[in-house]
């Protein structure tokens, strides 16, 4: 194999693909990026961590000699990144050794035989094998769903199912739901065409990778979901995609999230998103490990919301927010301010609605009709 690549494009691709690779994989072949140069002048890079596989097709490349190579991802990334004076790099394989050549540099990297890399099923082979559902959305829609849910997913919870994000497909509806057991984010979108219903839990790492791939909002994304995998292909044509990410699904049962979304909240207050975010952020300044909660006191008489916090041995904070239109009852409720700001950060609409019922009942944050966030209160002493 011999390919001549534009360095900048190669670096972008290598950075993305090596983001998937587990450099400490017990199988050194899996710590490699696979180069695949075809006779018709296309170069693809593939990396995997055994759960997630990412395959990128590289533009601006000259295939001088088709072939394949397995190159250790970490060193490859370092070399391509360090050769920052070179407009192009030549990558050549010679047996299991890869040569990376610039104007004044020649790196020889010991790799592995290309056929020791696991076979990666293509989007087409998965689409042909009767998946549960297959549909097309856009990169912008996909990244909007991920951005507004992934932050609420659990990180290392012993209930594995909530360490991922639930994807729900039903007719034209496409939803994502994430929870860590204390708050829950749900975001909805629609697609142009209907497809079969399906539900699956996508690992957080795969979603972070998808966010990096989804940088062209208008680009079509083809999605196929089977019993064990989900595949996302970016580009006009799913079988000849610019990028294809395939991930195994998180096993387990997602908790019954519909049941915990409150339906009959008595108090509904509309806020300017930035005003509320600023108030919560400032009140959070006087919280600490022992006293993390911020108290929100809604007052009907003075038509005001007072946020207060208290950090033992440090001090207290009080922030007043004017609620001109407030005619509800008085209520005081405590929240972890991080949970509120996390949601306010990803809301794109300038207005948010806060809905409450009682100090020991969940609070609801809504925005734009497509985003909903349930957050459990903190019992303040």
């Amino acid at each position: 194999m011999k390919v001549i690549c534009e360095r900048a494009a190669l670096l972008d691709a290598v950075n993305l693909v090596s983001g998937v690779v587990n450099n400490r994989s017990p199988r050194p072949q899996l710590a490699c990026v696979k180069f695949d140069a075809s006779a018709d002048g296309e170069l693809t890079l593939t990396g995997t961590d055994a759960e997630i596989t990412l395959r990128l097709s590289l533009a601006r490349v000259d295939v001088a000699e088709p072939g394949q190579a397995l190159i250790p991802a970490d060193k490859l990334r370092q070399i391509v990144s360090a050769e920052d004076n070179e407009p192009t790099l030549t990558i050549e394989s010679d047996g299991d050794t890869a040569h990376i050549k610039g104007e004044d540099a020649h790196f020889q990297l010991h790799g592995f035989p290309a056929d020791e890399f696991p076979a990666i099923p293509s989007f087409k082979s998965i689409a042909d094998a009767d998946p549960k559902t297959i549909f097309t959305t856009s990169a912008g829609t996909l990244s909007g769903l991920i951005t507004r849910t992934l932050f609420a997913a659990a990180r290392e919870n012993s209930r594995y199912a909530i360490n991922g994000v639930l994807l729900v497909r039903d007719g034209k509806k496409l939803e994502m739901v994430a929870t860590d057991g204390r708050r829950l984010a749900k975001c909805s979108a629609t697609t142009d065409a209907k497809s079969d219903p399906a539900r699956c839990i996508i690992p957080s790492k795969a979603l972070s990778m998808l966010l990096k791939l989804a940088d062209e909002p208008e680009e079509p994304v083809h999605v196929a979901i089977t019993d064990t995998r989900a595949v996302f292909a970016f580009g006009d044509d799913a079988t000849d995609a610019r990028a294809t990410l395939s991930t195994s699904l998180v096993e387990g049962t997602f908790p019954p999230y519909e049941d915990v979304i409150p339906k009959d909240q008595d108090i509904k207050v509309t806020f300017d998103r930035d005003v509320l975010a600023s108030a919560v952020r400032r009140a959070a300044l006087l919280t600490n490990e022992e006293s993390r909660g911020v108290r929100l006191a809604f007052k009907g008489e003075t038509k005001a919301l007072e946020l207060s916090s208290r950090a033992p041995e440090m001090g207290e904070a009080r922030i007043a927010v004017d609620l001109a239109g407030y005619d509800g009852d008085d209520i005081e409720i405590g929240f972890n301010p991080t949970f509120l700001t996390d949601a306010l950060k990803v809301i794109t609409d300038p207005e948010v609605v806060i809905e409450l019922k009682a100090p020991n009942k969940p609070g609801l944050v809504k925005s734009g009709g497509d985003f909903l966030y349930v957050v459990m209160p903190v019992n303040l002493p």
Partner: protein
């Protein structure tokens, strides 16, 4: 002789790290020894007195120290030895008085005012401490300063280092202090020295003779305190570290344990004991650490946050055991026979006043209440019949020949 208003001791182990090494490795005794990093960016943690004679000192880059004393030997204390020896020394202190304020691993203030009637004259108490530290550690020396307050005690311990004992009786305070240079007062640096020197003041005696206002003028708000120190006055109390930073249990086995299941039993017993102590002291913990020492003394520790589903600190036995167990199960693949097993909790806060984050799913409050009721019942039984009267079945398999009936 006027009575001592307070009797304060400052105990400072002599070249502690280096002395521990020389004690454990007899071939290094009498030789210049540096303890610390030997790498390019290494720093000397301690220099033996033989090395100090060449100008080596702690916090010096190892390279500099080696140039000053090329024959110095760079050594490393055995694993856990520093802590073991420190604990032995502090054990001695705590037998003398509960008022022990650790300043570091090898240095402490002791308030022995209340021990005089029981243990004798201040000098006798200090001699006893020096003797017992020597015996408990198997040969480490310390220097002790005895004085009516912390400031003077610290000065006293420096006067006859190493292996020294200096008593500054109340009536000798000025006699000792007056000839010393003002720089001996902590907080008077080169700038303060220069400022005082411009008044012709170089000694503490001369400083003492100045009116307070002049000292304040020269040294700012700090001046008042300095002026009091110059007169030998210092009423800062000895503050014992009452706020425990962690609570732990560990046990060394006569013979290394080679069965992981037995180790689990010990861990569970430790978790129970630690949780009971947390409850007894009305504390909640955030973090659990397990410690494993192999037969060759290699020691590893692993820690994680206690996960009771709500990220809040807890004193529940089940939660602490679950965290300890999770740490153990993550490590057990590398299992080797172990010599010591320990469980400790840290990130302590007072129970009672904490807020609780509510959960979305299930009824964690109910679980919590059930577990607490169980812990309360077990504590009540333990209080009446001893801690082995009721235990989790697993912790009874801990290789100990207790009688269980």
């Amino acid at each position: 002789m006027p009575p001592w208003p307070r009797v304060i001791l400052h105990v400072d182990m002599d070249a502690f790290f280096a002395s521990v090494v020389q004690l454990d490795q007899p071939e290094l005794r009498g030789k210049p020894v540096l303890v610390g990093g030997s790498g390019k960016r290494g720093v000397v943690a301690a220099a033996s007195y033989e090395a100090r004679a060449f100008g080596c000192r702690s916090a010096q880059p190892t390279g500099v120290a080696m140039r000053l004393c090329p024959q110095a030997i760079i050594a490393r204390p055995g694993p856990g030895r520093i802590r073991d020896q420190s604990e032995r020394a502090f054990g001695v202190f705590e037998r003398v008085t509960p008022l022990v304020q650790p300043l570091s691993i090898d240095e402490a203030f002791l308030d022995v005012t209340g021990s005089v009637r029981l243990l004798g004259e201040p000098r006798a108490i200090a001699e006893r401490i020096r003797r017992e530290v020597f015996e408990a550690t198997g040969g480490l020396t310390c220097s002790v300063g005895v004085a009516p307050n912390k400031f003077l005690a610290k000065i006293a311990s420096e006067l006859d280092k190493p292996d020294g004992l200096v008593v500054i009786e109340p009536e000798r305070v000025h006699e000792v202090l007056d000839p010393m240079l003002v720089g001996a007062i902590h907080g008077i640096g080169p700038a303060g020295e220069a400022s005082l020197a411009s008044l012709g003041v170089r000694t503490i005696g001369a400083l003492r003779a100045l009116p307070t206002e002049v000292v304040r003028e020269r040294l700012g708000t700090f001046g008042e305190r300095v002026h009091r120190l110059a007169q030998g006055l210092d009423d800062r109390p000895v503050r014992p570290d009452r706020e425990a930073k962690s609570i732990g249990h560990e046990r060394t086995f006569g013979e290394d344990l080679s069965d992981p299941e037995e180790v689990r039993g010990v861990l569970c017993a430790h978790a129970e004991d630690v949780a009971r102590r947390l409850r007894k002291h009305a504390r909640l913990a955030r973090t659990v650490t397990i410690k494993v020492r192999y037969g060759n003394f290699e020691t590893i520790t692993r820690q994680r946050a206690i996960d009771d589903d709500h990220e809040r600190p807890t004193d529940r036995t089940d939660a602490i055991w679950a965290a300890a167990r999770a740490l153990f199960e993550a490590w057990v693949r590398q299992f080797r026979p172990v010599r010591l097993i320990g469980v400790s909790v840290s990130g302590l806060s007072e129970s009672g006043a904490t807020e609780t984050q509510m959960g979305l799913f299930g009824a964690p409050e109910a679980t919590d209440e059930r577990q607490r009721a169980l812990d309360r019942a077990a504590d009540a039984i333990a209080a009446k019949f001893g801690k082995n009267a009721v235990r989790r079945a697993r912790s009874m398999r801990d290789g100990d020949d207790r009688s269980w009936w």
